[in-house]
C-alpha cells in the first residue's frame, strides 16, 4: 500500500482527490501549504508527493527545491499539479526537480498512470 502526501491548500481539491485516491487503494495524508509539505515529507513516511504549485507560505516550486536539496527527500517522486497550464510550466516543474507534471482538472486515470510509473507498480 503506497503512501501519498498530497500538498494542496484548496479544501475541495484536497477532499476530492484524497477520496478518489483512497478508493484506488492509496493511503493519503495531506499538507495545507508548502512549508508543512516539506516538513511532513522529511519524516520519510511517504512514497510519493503530489504537489500543488500555487501554495501559501512557500509555494510548490520552492517546496520542491527544498525537498530536492535535502538528502532524505532527494529521491522521492514528486508530481507537480498546476491549474495554470502555462506552456512553460512543465519545463519549470521539471527544472525545479519534479519527477512529473500534471494539470488540473486532474484526470484520475492519467494521474494514476503517472503515479504507478514512478512508484514502479505498473
Amino acid at each position: 500500500m503506497s503512501r501519498v502526501l498530497l500538498v494542496e491548500d484548496n479544501e475541495m481539491n484536497r477532499d476530492m482527490l484524497s477520496r478518489r485516491l483512497r478508493k484506488k487503494g492509496f493511503e493519503v495524508d495531506m499538507a495545507l501549504d508548502g512549508a508543512q509539505g516539506v516538513e511532513m515529507a522529511r519524516s520519510g513516511a511517504y512514497d510519493i508527493v503530489l504537489m500543488d504549485m500555487s501554495l501559501p507560505v512557500i509555494d510548490g516550486w520552492e517546496a520542491t527545491r527544498q525537498l530536492r536539496a535535502a538528502p532524505e527527500t532527494q529521491t522521492i517522486p514528486i508530481i507537480a499539479l498546476t491549474a495554470h497550464a502555462m506552456s512553460g510550466d512543465r519545463d519549470k516543474a521539471m527544472d525545479a526537480g519534479c519527477s512529473d507534471y500534471d494539470t488540473k482538472p486532474v484526470e484520475i486515470d492519467r494521474l494514476l498512470l503517472k503515479m504507478n510509473t514512478l512508484l514502479g507498480v505498473a
Partner: protein, 652 residues
C-alpha cells in the same frame, strides 16, 4: 458612469490579471469535474443509470465551459479586454444552466436510487462550484467594478441629467419594482409602464435614454413595441434592451434582428443589469453626440449656401465654432473667411456705387453740352434686315475691326449686339481663321456677369459677324472721356470686375488680346461687361506695325510681347489692364507717341511715370500695382487674373 463604464469595457487586462482570472475560473471547473467523476465512480450498476446520465451530462457541460475559458483566456493569446471577459461570462451561463439542472434532478430521488447524505453533500459542492463559476465575475472584474463603486456611491443622489432616464416596460409589477430599485440606487431616473401602449406614449412624450422592454406582455407585446419605436424616426435612436427569460433565445434573436440593442435575461443579475444599462446609456450618449455633430455639419453647409447667396450673417456659426474639435475649427475659419468675403463684397459694392454716381454725373453733363453719338456712316441702315434674321436698330459703336449695331433677333425676339468684321481687317490665312472660330467657340462658353455673352459667329456677304448679348450702357472709354479721369474707388470698382471677368475667361482658355476701355461696357447698375473675347484672334498681326491706326486700333494697350508678335498669354491681358487702370486714374495713357512706331518704341523701351507721380491723390499701393501690371516682362506682372483680384481686394 457611462464614460468610466466604456473605458472599463475597453481596458485590456494585464497578463497577470488574465492568469489570475484563468485560475479563478478553472478552480471551480476542477471541482465540478472532480466531484462528478468521484460520484460517477460510485454510481455503478443499473440502479444508478439515471444518476450516471445526469453526471455525464454535467461533465460534458463543464468541459464545454473549460473550452470556453481556454479559448477566451488562452495563455499568450490575443489581448483580453473586460468586454471579452463579460462575453465569456455570458457564454458560461449556458453550461452553468445545464449543470444546475442536472444537480437539481440528482437531489430529487429517482428510480430505485436513494439519496444519501454524503451524496447530497457532494452534489451541493458541485452546485456551489457551479455558482462560483459565474459568480467569479464579481471578484474577477475587480478593478472596473471597484472603480464604478467609488465613482458613483450607491447611496448618493445623482442628478438625473448625469445618468439618464430609463423606461421600464414590464407587465409584472414585481419585475418592475426590482428593476426600479436597482436602477434608482445607481442614480438613474426611472419611468415605468405596465403595457406596450403606455410605453409608446411615454417614449414619444418624454426623452428616454434607454428602454428596458419585456418581451412577453398581454396586449401589445414587446416585439410590437420595439417595432414601433424603431420605426419612428423620433425614437429609433433610443437603445432598447429586451427583458426575457434566458430560455427564450429565438425570441431574443428575432428582437435583435428587429433592432433591439441588447437583452437582459431573467432573473436579473445586478452586475449584468448594470453593465448592459451602462453600455446602452453610453451608446445613446454617443449617438446623441453623433446626431448633434451631424446637425452642426449641416449648419456649416447651410452657412456655405448663405455665403453664396450673399445672406450670411457674421457669427451665425458661433455655436459650432465653440467646439474644440476639427469641426469647430472649420466653423471658426469659415466664419472669418465669410466675414472677409462679405467685407470685400461690401467694398466692391461701394466702389460700384461710386462708379454709378460718376456715370450719372457724366451723363448729365453730356446731355447739358448736347454731346451725342456721331451720325453713323456704316453700311447698315436702321430698319434693315441683316443676314435675313437681325433687324438693325441703330449703330452703337465703331472700332478698328468693324461696326457694332444694336439689332432685333427676329427668330428669338430678343435684342442683340452685332459686330461686323470688315473683311480687310481679317487674316486670310485659313489656319488663323480656324483658330479664331475655335476661340469663339470657347468664348461662347463663358458665362459670367462681367462678360458680354457671345451668341454666335456668322458669315454674310463674305464677311464674318459675331452676335452678342446687348448691353444698354456706356463704355469705360466714354466715361473717361466725359470725366477726364475717374476716382480711386470707381477705378477699383472697374479693376475688380475686370479681373473677375478675365479670371473666368482665362480659366476657360480664352485670352482676350484686346482689353481696352472701348471694349468695356458699364450697365446702368455699374456692372462692368467686357466684350469681344476671342475676337482679336482674327486680327492680322503682321499689319499692326505697318498699317498705322487700323486693324486693332491703337497699340497703346498691347503688351510688349504682343507687339513683337511673341508668345501671348494671360499676362498679356494683365498688361492691358494696367494701361486701362493707368488711364482711369490719370486720364492719360502711360505712353504717348506722335506715331504708332514712336509709341511702340516707348512701350518696348521706356518706363512710364507712375500714376502716383502724375496725381498725388492716387494711393501708392494702387500706383505700385499698376506699375507691376505694366512690367515689360510678363514674369514681373501678377501671375494670373485671380492673383490680381486678390491684390486688388487687399487694396480695399
Amino acid at each position: 458612469m457611462t464614460e468610466v463604464g466604456e473605458q472599463a469595457q475597453l481596458r485590456t487586462l494585464s497578463a497577470d490579471e488574465v492568469a489570475t482570472l484563468r485560475h479563478d475560473m478553472r478552480t471551480p471547473v476542477n471541482h465540478i469535474v472532480g466531484y462528478c467523476e468521484l460520484l460517477l465512480e460510485d454510481a455503478e450498476g443499473p440502479d444508478h443509470a439515471a444518476r450516471r446520465e445526469r453526471l455525464e451530462e454535467s461533465l460534458r457541460a463543464v468541459r464545454d465551459a473549460l473550452e470556453m475559458i481556454n479559448a477566451s483566456l488562452s495563455p499568450g493569446g490575443h489581448d483580453v479586454t473586460q468586454r471579452d471577459v463579460d462575453a465569456l461570462y455570458d457564454r458560461l451561463r449556458e453550461p452553468h444552466a445545464r449543470i444546475m439542472e442536472s444537480m437539481a434532478a440528482l437531489l430529487t430521488p429517482q428510480d430505485h436510487a436513494t439519496v444519501d447524505e454524503e451524496f447530497s453533500a457532494d452534489v451541493r459542492k458541485i452546485r456551489n462550484a457551479t455558482e462560483q463559476l459565474v459568480a467569479a465575475k464579481r471578484s474577477a472584474s475587480i478593478e472596473p467594478a471597484a472603480t464604478l463603486e467609488r465613482e458613483v456611491p450607491a447611496t448618493e443622489t445623482i442628478s438625473p441629467e448625469g445618468r439618464g432616464t430609463i423606461l421600464i416596460v414590464d407587465d409584472e409589477p414585481n419585475n418592475r419594482a426590482v428593476l426600479e430599485r436597482h436602477l434608482e440606487r445607481q442614480g438613474y431616473t426611472v419611468v415605468s409602464a405596465g403595457d406596450g401602449a403606455k410605453a409608446l406614449e411615454i417614449v414619444q412624450r418624454a426623452s428616454c435614454d434607454v428602454v428596458l422592454l419585456d418581451v412577453r406582455m398581454p396586449g401589445m407585446d414587446g416585439r410590437e413595441v420595439l417595432r414601433r419605436i424603431k420605426q419612428d424616426p423620433a425614437t429609433r435612436d433610443i437603445p432598447v434592451v429586451m427583458i426575457s427569460a434566458a430560455d427564450d433565445l429565438s425570441t431574443i434573436a428575432a428582437c435583435i434582428e428587429a433592432g433591439a440593442d441588447d437583452f437582459l435575461p431573467k432573473p436579473f443579475d445586478q452586475v449584468i443589469l448594470r453593465a448592459r444599462v451602462g453600455a446602452s446609456i453610453e451608446k445613446k450618449r454617443l449617438r446623441n453626440l453623433e446626431v448633434d455633430y451631424l446637425r452642426q455639419v449641416e449648419r456649416v453647409a447651410e452657412a456655405a449656401t448663405a455665403v453664396e447667396r450673399g445672406v450670411y450673417a457674421a457669427g451665425s456659426l458661433a455655436q459650432v465654432a465653440e467646439r474644440g474639435d476639427a469641426l469647430g475649427r472649420l466653423a471658426r475659419v469659415f466664419d472669418s473667411m465669410a466675414v472677409g468675403v462679405k467685407a470685400r463684397e461690401q467694398r466692391l459694392q461701394d466702389h460700384v456705387t461710386n462708379l454709378r454716381r460718376e456715370m450719372d454725373e457724366a451723363k448729365r453733363s453730356a446731355a447739358a453740352t448736347g454731346d451725342t453719338q456721331e451720325p453713323d456712316d456704316g453700311a447698315l441702315i436702321p430698319g434693315e434686315l441683316f443676314a435675313n434674321r437681325y433687324q438693325i436698330t441703330r449703330v452703337v459703336g465703331r472700332g478698328g475691326m468693324g461696326m457694332v449695331y444694336k439689332a432685333r433677333d427676329r427668330e428669338l425676339a430678343e435684342d442683340v449686339a452685332i459686330k461686323t468684321l470688315r473683311s480687310n481687317a481679317m487674316s486670310d490665312d485659313p489656319t488663323v481663321v480656324e483658330r479664331f472660330k475655335t476661340e469663339i467657340r470657347l468664348a461662347r462658353r463663358i458665362s459670367h456677369r462681367n462678360v458680354v455673352r457671345t451668341h454666335d459667329l456668322g458669315e454674310h456677304d463674305g464677311a464674318y459677324y459675331v452676335t452678342m448679348e446687348y448691353v444698354e450702357g456706356i463704355t469705360v472709354r466714354e466715361l473717361i472721356d466725359m470725366r477726364g479721369h475717374l476716382s480711386v474707388p470707381s477705378t477699383l470698382g472697374i479693376a475688380q470686375q475686370l479681373a473677375a471677368s478675365l479670371e473666368v475667361a482665362h480659366g476657360q482658355g480664352v485670352i482676350h488680346r484686346d482689353i481696352k476701355p472701348q471694349n468695356m461696357l458699364l450697365d446702368p447698375d455699374g456692372v462692368l461687361k467686357v466684350m469681344d473675347f476671342g475676337i482679336a484672334r482674327l486680327a492680322q498681326h503682321t499689319s499692326t506695325l505697318t498699317q498705322a491706326g487700323m486693324v486693332i486700333g491703337t497699340p497703346a494697350y498691347m503688351a510688349p510681347e504682343q507687339l513683337l508678335a511673341e508668345e501671348v498669354d494671360a499676362r498679356s491681358d494683365l498688361y492691358a489692364v494696367g494701361v486701362v487702370l493707368y488711364e482711369c486714374l490719370t486720364g492719360a495713357l502711360p505712353f504717348e507717341g506722335a506715331s504708332p512706331i514712336a509709341l511702340i518704341a516707348k512701350v518696348l523701351h521706356t518706363v512710364p511715370v507712375s500714376p502716383a507721380e502724375r496725381d498725388g491723390s492716387v494711393p501708392l499701393p494702387l500706383s505700385g500695382l499698376v506699375m507691376r501690371l505694366l512690367d515689360k516682362e510678363p514674369g514681373g506682372r501678377p501671375g494670373s487674373a485671380g492673383e490680381l483680384r486678390e491684390l486688388l481686394a487687399e487694396l480695399g
